[in-house]
């Protein structure tokens, strides 16, 4: 019984060691499997993952219109105080006053890319972009205003 255990231990360990060596040997002989991204060199062809969270951006359409209603749900949802929304009263052509955003301030240096603001947004006004090259020489450049100058709220978004 002891000898049987002894030799079966040897057999099993050699088998498992050879299984491991087979894996490394396979990778060694198949350089196509290499996962390394040679980042600065492959910049033109670099493809980030679909759900990669680079930074918060506000998409604008060709008429310079965004979807942000200024409801401040994102500002409330943000755990770090990254987002600050300044609103203003705008007079519509029919004479009614409506709340519109003046500036959408986004502090990239405070953001942890937790995605809570995007989840909170009821009108899908903000999304996470794929851009990850954020380094700048001046900290002030990390404070971003997401709505473009003279941009308007898209029609039909309330």
């Amino acid at each position: 019984m002891f000898l049987k255990d002894y030799f079966s231990t040897i057999y099993r360990s050699i088998k498992s060691l050879l299984t491991g060596m087979k894996v490394t040997g396979y990778y060694f002989t198949h350089p196509k499997e290499i996962q390394t991204e040679e980042y600065p060199d492959n910049r033109p062809t670099l493809k980030m993952a679909d759900r990669f969270r680079g930074e918060v951006v506000m998409p604008h359409n060709e008429n310079n219109e965004h979807r942000c209603t200024g409801c401040q749900a994102c500002e409330i949802a943000c755990p770090n105080g990254t987002i600050k929304i300044v609103t203003k009263q705008e007079i519509m052509p029919d004479g009614k006053k409506k709340k519109r955003i003046d500036t959408f301030v986004y502090h990239l240096d405070l953001c942890t890319m937790c995605n809570l603001c995007i989840v909170a947004c009821p009108s899908d006004a903000i999304v996470m972009s794929q851009n990850f090259e954020h380094s700048v020489y001046d900290k002030k450049q990390l404070k971003k205003i997401l709505n473009k100058p003279d941009s308007k709220l898209m029609d039909g978004v309330e």
Binding site: I10, Q35, T36
Partner: protein, 364 residues
């Protein structure tokens, strides 16, 4: 092409000898000059070899871990290791204040000297051997175990708990695995009937021992590779260094060139172990011969003997490198269990098998 085929290290060596003999008439002076030339050639060869092995190890490791490895400095990263060596040269050779300074500085020298001494009886090519000592196998196994003194010295003199732990582990490990290495070497000595590495190579003219010796020799080859991996302190037996637990083990306190000497001796040891395995089990510089097929043997003879030797050596170096990048490190108790409960009894039984085989003449 014919010039290339007729080239051999032995003719080169004898040409240099004739040239020097013509220039220097005093025989003692001639001997000293030749010794100095040999020493410088050997040391520069070993340094270049270590550069190559360092580069090879990084690339092999990278490819096995699906990475690229060094590929920025020089073409395909070949100059990376030169850059690293320059960095180590420029660093301060620090000696800790509370260390035993004499032993601390002596330890790396002992390591390098012990590993360089073991290269003497190795046959690099046909008739190209530094010193065909008639107890070559014994000499190599004796000298290569001197390295543990360097490790213990480094660990003790550093006055550092990690260094001491690493050195003590290394002592237990090398003393244990020496036995299996010796017993697997003996199995070849029994078959070839000689301790001289030159004679052992010549005894494999009609086939390498690993082919001629059937299963017992294959077992002792496997045991030799495992035990010698442990003896040169390479992963998965790198308990003496164990970066994750001991921050580098016995060479924790070393920096600069003293650290580089430990690295140098590690790679020289790797080369020696592989060269010994290639010489004893795979026929050294002997081309691949099959008894009876004369035309095939003749074609194999056209490949220079030095290429045969280095091809076999690097095959074993590659296998040991693959061990390092495949297997996880053993615990101390597992390490000793492997040696005392598995490798040693198996190699003892194996010795009996080989002896019976040699007496009955069952080998080819």
């Amino acid at each position: 092409m014919s010039l290339l085929l007729s080239f051999s290290f032995s003719s080169l060596a004898s040409n240099i000898h004739n040239l020097l003999a013509a220039a220097i008439s005093n025989s003692f002076l001639l001997l000293v000059t030749e010794m100095v030339i040999t020493g410088i050639t050997l040391i520069s060869f070993l340094v270049v070899l270590c550069f190559f092995l360092g580069y090879m190890e990084r690339r092999v490791a990278a490819f096995m871990e699906i990475r690229l490895g060094p590929n920025r400095v020089g073409p395909k990263g070949t100059l990376q290791i030169v850059a690293d060596t320059l960095k180590l040269l420029l660093k301060e050779g620090l000696t800790p204040d509370s260390s035993d300074k004499f032993l601390f500085n002596l330890a790396p020298i002992i390591m390098v000297v012990a590993s360089m001494m073991a290269i003497a009886p190795i046959a690099f090519a046909k008739d190209f051997q530094l010193y065909d000592i008639n107890i070559g196998v014994l000499y190599v196994s004796a000298v290569s175990s001197l390295g543990v003194i360097g490790i213990l010295m480094a660990g003790w003199s550093s006055n550092n708990k990690y260094s001491l732990l690493g050195a003590m582990r290394s002592g237990a490990q090398i003393v244990s695995y020496e036995l299996s290495v010796g017993l697997s070497l003996i199995s070849i000595v029994i078959l070839s009937g000689s301790l001289s590495l030159g004679d052992i190579v010549m005894s494999q003219q009609n086939g390498w021992w690993i082919i001629k010796g059937h299963i017992p020799i294959i077992i002792s080859f496997v045991i030799f590779v495992i035990a010698s991996t442990a003896e040169i302190n390479r992963a998965p037996f790198d308990l003496a260094e164990a970066d994750q637990e001991l921050t580098g083990g016995f060479h924790t306190e070393y920096a600069g060139m003293k650290f580089a000497m430990f690295l140098l001796s590690e790679y020289i040891n790797l080369f020696i172990v592989s060269a010994i395995a290639a010489t004893l089990f795979l026929g050294g510089w002997m081309p691949f011969h099959i008894g009876g097929l004369d035309s095939f043997n003749h074609i194999m003879d056209y490949i220079p003997s030095s290429i045969w030797f280095f091809a076999k050596t690097f095959l074993i170096i590659f296998i040991i490198m693959q061990f390092r990048w495949t297997f996880p490190r053993l615990r101390v108790d597992q390490l000793l269990t492997l040696e005392w409960k598995y490798l040693l009894p198996i190699s003892m039984v194996n010795i009996i098998l080989v002896t019976v085989m040699a007496i009955m003449g069952w080998h080819l």
